[in-house]
């Protein structure tokens, strides 16, 4: 006889110990660690766990909503209910190309991991405005592409039939789903995260802005590979300890590449011909330019990994440090894999943490290098394994120099502050912000709106010191406290605020600028006592100002960049006015696929 599940039953069986009533912290879900094509690769069918949250069919969580609408066929596919017991019991649906519900599960799981990586590194929760949750459409259209669409905060994935003539390792005509590629999902969702953190980085005001977007998206996708233990161990064994050996760890979107007739993965973390300092001056296509930054970061990772395994290898080889020929001992592989995974996580965290130290507008690779160095220096003043030195060197090898420093020494790269000129933030602002963050806004108050108002007032009062224009409105683009553990295990609390100004432009001027707005902005990092710790300013004078032999950004510079982008745009001639007036914004659509046009081979 069956015991009916009644209220009495529930009450009786639910023990009083609170820990049993807590829902589990993590939810295990199955995914393809790489993509369906890599079926034979060890560890490709992986179980990952993501933070647990209540889910409705879709799945729909608090911040991620999977909508399986197919715009080409104008139909919907059945939404998965991840809380169904049979699915829960087996850690999610088995990987399957033919069941759309598995696809929904996989995009949800990968997106959650990206989100979690960002939240952990930043030390805060990333929320989306109400009704602006991240929408994911795993089968949005037929086409060899996938993209993030900022206006709808949606990530759209395409599916297509593998090239009949050159299917690579796919079957000719086989359906290739971009949403089943871990890398494409991680890449596109990262675009959404970057957009969430720095909305104005989708406004291409210099050649680095869009490339930076692409680079971060590839960096997250590649470093997430290192969390797949079986893939990692297999590659370390095959590469004889060298994680740079070509293979699935460093390749991006293999099936997609093959399916579109490339006979290779879409992109790789390695430069085919090594670093070339000229590339930064000549490579302009955002994905290719992004690869320069990816390679620099990967170099840094490789140095860190080497530094971490040197003692293990010494122990394993009786002090010689030379690994014997043949297979490595599985325990040694395990130890190396652990170190590789830690190094990867540490670099990924560093890459994301640097966001707090970026200007609100017009990012350059040089800014990013300074942000990386500052962020890392700020938490860990000692560069124990030489990670920062390796980072600076990797950028130098690729010809990437910040425009505003006179040496690549660490102390000149760390952002400065304007402590003398800027008074500390009022204690009440900090108090309100902290209360709202930790306890939630007290009833009857308008939440953080008064904090934003007070910060805007601070910006207006001190416009000059913030390198903003005194007569103009100051908008607070974002502000938040961060909680991090620094050296000596101390909790570090900082307050990050972004001040943005827009110079008014006439409709004609805006059409000339391809829809771009002329913005300047300053990011300020305050200590918990309200003192200015770092100041990252991007003023926007009309003409460039020469400072220490380097020109600053300027309206003139933006115009020149637009002109250059126009010259490289094969389609411009054939476009209509509605496109021309918005062309700079249209160029910022984050498609995974290289447009094969307009690139110099």
């Amino acid at each position: 006889m069956k015991v009916a599940r009644t209220r009495a039953y529930d009450k009786f069986t639910r023990l009083q110990q609170p820990y049993l009533n807590e829902s589990p912290a993590r939810r295990p879900l199955k995914i393809f660690a790489l993509d369906p094509l890599s079926g034979q690769t060890a560890g490709n069918r992986a179980v990952v766990d993501v933070p647990n949250e209540p889910l409705a069919p879709g799945p729909i969580g608090e911040r991620i909503k999977v909508i399986d609408y197919d715009g080409t066929l104008n139909c919907f596919y059945a939404p998965v209910n991840l809380d169904e017991p049979p699915i829960l019991m087996q850690s999610g649906l088995e990987p399957s190309e033919s069941d759309p519900r598995f696809h929904q599960q996989m995009v949800y799981a990968v997106a959650m991991r990206v989100l979690e990586n960002f939240e952990r590194a930043l030390g805060r929760n990333l929320r989306f405005a109400k009704g602006r949750e991240l929408r994911i459409l795993p089968h949005a259209f037929r086409g060899a592409n996938a993209f993030f669409d900022p206006p709808t905060n949606a990530v759209m994935f395409g599916y297509f039939s593998a090239d009949e003539g050159q299917p690579g390792q796919n079957l000719p005509g086989q359906t290739v789903f971009s949403c089943l590629s871990h890398d494409i999902v991680a890449h596109e969702v990262t675009h959404a995260m970057v957009f969430r953190l720095r909305e104005h980085f989708s406004e291409p005001t210099n050649p680095d802005v869009l490339a930076f977007h692409e680079a971060i998206a590839d960096i997250v996708a590649i470093f997430q590979h290192f969390t797949f233990a079986d893939v990692l161990r297999d590659q370390i064994q095959k590469g004889h300890g060298d994680v740079r050996a070509p293979g699935p760890l460093l390749e991006l979107a293999k099936q997609f590449g093959h399916g579109t007739g490339r006979s290779e993965a879409l992109r790789s973390a390695l430069e085919p011909n090594g670093p070339n300092p000229n590339d930064y001056k000549t490579v302009m296509e955002p994905h290719a330019r992004g690869s320069l930054l990816v390679a620099a970061v990967f170099d840094t990772f490789f140095s860190a990994y080497q530094a971490r395994i040197v003692d293990i290898v010494r122990v394993a080889t009786g002090g010689t440090g030379r690994l014997p020929k043949g297979d490595l001992h599985p325990d040694l592989v395990g130890l190396m894999a652990t170190q590789a995974a830690r190094a990867a996580q540490s670099i990924l965290t560093m890459c994301i943490r640097a966001f707090e130290y970026l200007p609100p507008v017009d990012v350059t690779y040089g800014d990013y290098l300074r942000a990386l160095v500052t962020a890392d220096f700020d938490l860990f003043p000692d560069d124990e394994i030489g990670q920062r030195a390796a980072l600076i060197e990797a950028f130098r090898l690729r010809g990437i120099y910040p425009s505003s420093v006179n040496s690549l020494a660490e102390e000149s790269l760390v952002w400065g502050s304007a402590r003398q000129e800027l008074p500390p933030l009022d204690r009440s602002i900090i108090g309100n912000l902290m209360t709202n963050e930790v306890l939630g806004p007290p009833p009857g108050t308008n939440g953080n709106r008064s904090v934003a108002g007070a910060l805007a007032e601070y910006g207006r009062t001190h416009a000059d010191a913030l390198q903003l224009e005194p007569e103009r409105e100051v908008e607070i683009q974002g502000f938040h406290p961060t909680f991090r553990i620094g050296a000596n295990g101390r909790v570090r609390v900082d307050i990050v605020a972004q001040f943005v100004q827009e110079r008014p432009t006439s409709p004609e001027e805006r059409a000339e600028l391809g829809g771009l707005r002329l913005r300047s902005g300053t990011t300020v990092i305050f200590s918990e006592r309200g003192e200015v710790r770092y100041l990252v300013a991007k003023p926007l004078p009309e003409e460039p100002v020469v400072q220490r032999g380097v020109e600053s950004r300027s309206v003139k510079g933006i115009r020149e960049f637009i002109e250059q982008a126009d010259e490289n745009d094969d389609l411009l001639l054939w476009r209509d006015t509605s496109y021309l007036d918005r062309r700079m914004l249209e160029r910022a659509n984050f498609a995974a696929l290289h447009r094969s046009l307009g690139e110099e081979p």
């Binding site: 715009g71 759309p100 929408r135 037929r142 297509f160 010259e567 001639l573």
Partner: protein
């Protein structure tokens, strides 16, 4: 004025190219016809096949002569450069030689492969285009695809037509100028297209991945092409009216964003193909006694770049007396640095063009301003000046414009 002169006659063919050059020789003149075609979307009263071809033949017959052209040059096989050669009237014109870019050589396997791939891409795109639903991208792509189709009929005239069994030459960039008995005292510098491997790579049609799926979209009703078994799918109406699915309804903005995807892809592919064929353009400089006529067809940045980076070639184009403005005056066929830093002051230039409503960027206003800054005298085929005509220029209503460049008397 001297009795000996080099002349450039630009026929008005709407949006398209058609030039007749003459060079003095002992017994009269040697003549070179460069291109004769009108774009399918051209507006304006004059067209190549209907108007310009009979006009050219009439002009050749002037004074009771038998119609003859010493050299016919086709820069590349776009309709706006060749459509006039579809006319059967060419069979009565005697031609000495026909010059085409090396990519048209039927006996060159590399060229044949390229041509086949380009032609296949054009045909496939045209087919897909016809089936796609209406969209802004599709409308913009239409003219580009029509322009790139193989133009077989015109090419047949060029390869095997004309009276007088002309010799065919397939030219590529070469170091020494071409000198032929039919054009005495004229040196023809061939600056493009190159046979350099890198350049050849740029002549490949756009990757199939950029548009292949479009063919599948139009075949989507074929259930074999659906991504999942039908049991997994619900129709729009059924899903949108089921209350339980309300939280999963996509907003109109999302649906709109998806709709825009394919429309752009066809435009990308069509524009890519257009550029590839432009890239095969013959770029020639005719030189006689210090007068240089620069005729680049619709050469693209690749060809220009190698010219501007080569000291000799750069010096040569810098001495141009006359410049046939590439690609109807669009920004992508005349490097800014050429006008700004290389072209001599007070040169003469001609833009063969008729405004097409949707191509507002042709001719390019910045390019026109750059010419002005160098005091270049510029004439547009569709709007020759009515007043203040320089003495060496002759305007024949809306039919043609002649520019004469005098040579010292022999």
């Amino acid at each position: 004025m001297s009795s000996r002169a080099v002349t450039v006659r630009m026929y008005n063919v709407g949006f398209g190219d058609c030039f007749l050059l003459t060079f003095p020789k002992d017994d009269g003149v040697a003549s070179v016809l460069i291109d004769c075609g009108t774009h399918p979307q051209s507006t304006g009263p004059r067209q190549a096949r209907r108007d310009a071809v009979p006009q050219i033949i009439d002009d050749l017959k002037a004074g009771g002569r038998a119609p003859r052209i010493d050299v016919v040059v086709v820069t590349h096989r776009h309709k706006d450069h060749v459509s006039g050669f579809e006319s059967p009237d060419w069979s009565q014109v005697e031609v000495g030689e026909v010059w085409m870019p090396w990519t048209e050589n039927p006996r060159d396997p590399v060229a044949t492969g390229l041509r086949e791939r380009q032609a296949n891409a054009a045909t496939a795109l045209d087919e897909v285009h016809g089936l796609l639903p209406e969209s802004p991208g599709r409308a913009l792509a239409a003219g580009l695809i029509a322009n790139s189709l193989t133009n077989e009929k015109a090419m047949t005239t060029l390869h095997s037509g004309f009276a007088g069994s002309p010799k065919r030459r397939f030219l590529s960039a070469q170091r020494d100028p071409l000198q032929i008995p039919l054009l005495p005292n004229v040196s023809v510098h061939v600056l493009g297209p190159s046979r350099d491997e890198k350049v050849i790579k740029r002549l490949e049609p756009p990757g199939r991945e950029a548009w292949l799926h479009l063919a599948e979209i139009v075949r989507a009703d074929d259930s074999g092409r659906r991504p999942f078994d039908d049991g997994w799918a619900k129709s729009w109406d059924e899903f949108m009216t089921t209350p339980a699915f309300a939280p999963l309804r996509p907003g109109g903005q999302i649906v709109g964003a998806i709709r825009r995807v394919g429309g752009d892809d066809i435009l990308y592919a069509a524009a890519g193909l257009e550029k590839v064929l432009n890239g095969t353009s013959l770029m020639l400089v005719f030189e006689i006694e210090g007068i240089l006529l620069l005729c680049p067809g619709d050469a693209q940045w690749g060809t220009w770049k190698s010219v501007l980076e080569d000291t000799r070639a750069r010096e040569l184009v810098g001495r141009a007396t006359f410049y046939k403005v590439g690609h109807h005056g669009s920004y992508n066929a005349t490097p800014k640095s050429f006008v700004k830093d290389v072209l001599a002051d007070s040169a003469w230039a001609a833009i063969p063009v008729a405004p097409v409503e949707r191509w507002k960027k042709i001719p390019n206003s910045a390019l026109l301003a750059a010419f002005e800054a160098r005091h270049t005298w510029v004439v547009q085929s569709d709007s020759p000046p009515a007043a203040n005509v320089p003495p060496n220029v002759t305007v024949r209503d809306n039919v043609s414009v002649d520019l004469a460049f005098p040579l010292p008397d022999a």
